[in-house]
Subunit: 128 residues, 2 copies
């Protein structure tokens, strides 16, 4: 180890955080354990969708589950999960505006073909 870092795992870990729905769930769980039904209410996500996200989060160790009666309560799996979220908040306070402008890989699909008539040749956007 050491030489070949586990980029794959790291990517997976971050991907757990990289979805709006999952972030909403994680944020809700910051207050404390919640049953699935409650999470559904809070987030407005569908039951099935919520369950899928919870499974993902659970398998990745970001949250833990505990069954009580018919209910299953979820809670954050590690204190460092919160630390990650806080750090992200701080970063956003500074680079938030830039991220907002970041349209890379976003919306560029299809829209062109429909709007523009002539197949313009590599019309390059001015650097910077």
């Amino acid at each position: 180890m050491g030489s070949k870092k586990t980029y794959h795992l790291q990517a997976k870990l971050f991907r757990g955080f990289s979805d709006e729905s999952r972030l909403v769930i994680l944020e809700a769980l910051r207050q404390g354990p919640l049953a699935v039904g409650r999470i559904v209410e809070i987030t407005g996500l569908s039951q099935s969708n919520t369950s899928n996200h919870l499974r993902c989060l659970s398998e990745c160790g970001l949250v833990s589950a505990e069954q009580r009666g018919r209910f299953v309560y979820y809670h954050l799996g590690d204190a460092r999960i919160e630390a990650m979220l806080r750090l992200a908040d701080e970063l956003l306070a500074d680079v938030g505006r830039r991220i907002y402008e970041c349209t890379n890989y976003r919306g560029a699909t299809g829209a062109n073909a429909a709007t523009s008539g002539p197949p313009k040749q590599h019309q390059r956007r001015r650097r910077q």
Copy 2:
């Protein structure tokens, strides 16, 4: 503000980290500024792919660019970027194994249709 958190931005931020190629690039930049060509060498990614990722990282504020002659040098945009990576490393040390096992949303596409003959009815995997 305040009440409605910027989950969308947060998701975007994390998505910047959620790709193996981008993580390799970020890791390389931890040592110091690098020109694009050097990054291409180190990562083994194609030039065009590298450039795309760099643009994404740059627009999201994770890295910054500086032109010197014909070369463009990139460096990490903020000290907290490193902090994020470190924190991820720590987390992985603990939950790494679980993440490795996490196959959610992974590989489940298509493989079934080809292998399984009879369209099995909701064959449920045993809970836990």
